[in-house]
């Protein structure tokens, strides 16, 4: 019974991708379009291109910078968001400014940061953080601001210290919003990882794809896009697992509220 359910779920998840691959295969049967490789060609190229030297020289450093960027994004976003969310005067002063910075498209910062920081890992991580931090930061502000008044009164009446209120009330209460922000910032971080590598870089996934394209190494270029897709997919799966764990209480609570 259980095995059958798993099988059924797998069928639901895989049916459409398999169908699309089949259509793609059928589409490439007739002729040879230079720009579109066959599925088999792509898979072979994928393994040949990426599982070797490139894994160490391009893929892993890119992923490393991506993770560093995401970690900094979450840390800075939450820390600054909590401070702004807790102090109303600060919020009123900063909110218009934050909206402005958030509205600046992060890729335009790349040339600027190249000049200020130089072409190095720090610059690339800074680009990632500069664009990805906003959803986390702004959602944290909202989450902190929305802390239930009765819960705050309760914490105060039991004389909880500021640190205790932060750890046991403010952060957990804001955690659903914070994680919403993190989910929004993950794809932004991935996009900026690629873009940060397309300018004056010497390694990385973004650069590799650009080079393949310039050299008309079309199947290789496609396989690079596939790598990016897989990284994005992996990120979203990892996020789901972490989110389920942290917000177990929240999903349970929501379910009870829906029933009641």
């Amino acid at each position: 019974m259980r095995a059958l359910t798993i099988l059924k779920n797998a069928a639901f998840i895989l049916a459409l991708p398999l169908l699309l691959i089949l259509l793609w295969w059928l589409g490439t049967l007739g002729g040879t379009n230079f720009y579109v490789p066959t599925p088999l060609q792509l898979i072979v190229t994928f393994f040949q291109t990426w599982f070797g030297e490139r894994m160490v020289e391009d893929v892993l450093p890119s992923i490393g910078r991506l993770f560093a960027g995401i970690a900094l994004t979450i840390a800075i976003g939450i820390a600054v968001g909590v401070v702004i969310g807790l102090f109303r005067p600060l919020r009123r002063v900063l909110e218009p400014l934050l909206e402005f910075f958030r509205a600046v498209p992060p890729p335009v910062l790349v040339p600027l940061l190249m000049l200020i920081i130089g072409v190095n890992d720090q610059m690339k991580v800074t680009v990632i953080v500069s664009g990805a931090v906003w959803p986390v930061l702004l959602n944290t502000v909202e989450g902190v601001r929305g802390t239930d008044q009765i819960m705050r009164d309760t914490a105060r009446s039991y004389r909880m210290t500021r640190t205790q209120q932060l750890l046991h009330l403010v952060l957990p209460a804001a955690s659903p919003q914070i994680l919403t922000g993190v989910r929004q910032s993950l794809p932004i971080a991935l996009i900026l990882m690629v873009i940060s590598e397309m300018f004056g870089s010497s390694t990385g996934l973004g650069l590799s794809i650009l080079q393949f394209q310039r050299n008309f190494a079309i199947p290789e270029m496609w396989s690079g896009i596939l790598v990016l897709g897989l990284i994005g997919f992996g990120l979203s799966i990892a996020f789901r697992i972490v989110e389920r764990r942290i917000l177990r209480w929240y999903h349970g609570l929501r379910e009870v509220q829906r029933e009641g």
Binding site: I150, M151, D153, R159, T161, H168, P172, W249, V256
Partner: protein, 277 residues
């Protein structure tokens, strides 16, 4: 019959308390002049028409709202912030419990700020949960429990804190009648076992008579004390006989009458009260 004022220093003194909420056009006077004191060990109920500023009063006493003039003192010391010797059970217990923590952790949390050791916290929390009849649910989340059980957890959290005074703000407003009766009896039992002083705010006249040794009737907002009635029912009460006693009906009638008058009294009428006892 006025509640007798004990000569022994009262535990809680509310001295000409006035609370004005500041607004651009001068402010809204929620509480005009409240003056009463509660001796140690008393279970006093506060009733008033809806909108009488009951919650405002309670928050002022709890040190959660600044007072405009007058004072509140507990054990002879002025209340300027939440005092150590006080615990508050709020109106919506479901919202005052932290949904991300287990029941046990919720009850233990205030004890952490009181600086107790882990073992001591666990022991007290288990005792308190036992006292409210919830031995089995320490590991559950609050939202997995019924409304009535959530109120019990909030009460357990308050008594584990071992306060001298327990403030309760319409804690049973949102539960069904049967649960409410059980919780009323629980409060009586806890009060008699622990000897804690309880100030119980409610809008329900029957509840105030059933629970209290004394009922303080508030006027409409801006609030003053409209009447202060001693409840001379026997200490052992039960839902059936107590509520059917003739004396219960008399007291209930008197308070009802005062509430009706309170609805029209906006703190201006002089407080001369006919003695119904």
């Amino acid at each position: 019959m006025k509640a007798e004022r004990k000569d022994a220093a009262p535990l809680l003194v509310v001295d000409h308390l006035k609370k004005v909420y500041p607004t651009p056009d001068g402010g809204v006077e929620a509480v005009r002049d409240l003056h009463f004191s509660v001796p140690a060990g008393q279970l006093a109920c506060i009733v008033g028409p809806s909108g009488a500023g009951k919650t405002t009063l309670l928050k002022c006493i709890a040190g959660l709202l600044p007072i405009t003039s007058g004072s509140v003192s507990l054990l002879g010391e002025g209340v300027t912030g939440p005092p150590q010797a006080m615990a508050v059970v709020f109106q919506e217990n479901g919202r005052s419990l932290f949904p991300w923590m287990s029941v046990q952790a919720n009850v233990e949390l205030p004890l952490k700020s009181a600086g107790l050791s882990r073992d001591e916290r666990r022991r007290r929390a288990e005792e308190a949960l036992h006292a409210v009849g919830l031995d089995e649910v320490g590991g559950s989340y609050p939202w997995q429990l019924s409304g009535g059980m959530q109120q019990r957890v909030a009460i357990a959290r308050a008594i584990a804190y071992q306060p001298k005074v327990l403030l309760m703000d319409e804690p049973f407003a949102a539960v069904d009648a049967q649960t409410r009766a059980d919780l009323e009896d629980l409060i009586r039992t806890i009060w008699m076992q622990l000897g804690v002083t309880i100030l119980f705010v409610t809008h329900d006249i029957d509840e105030s008579v059933y629970l209290g040794e004394r009922v303080i009737v508030l006027s409409n907002s801006p609030t003053v004390v409209q009447d202060d009635i001693a409840i001379d029912l026997p200490a052992e009460r039960d839902q059936l006989t107590t509520r059917n006693a003739p004396r219960f009906a008399e007291l209930r009638g008197r308070i009802y009458e005062q509430i009706q008058r309170a609805k029209h009294n906006r703190g201006t009428e002089s407080i001369q009260v006919a003695d119904a006892g």
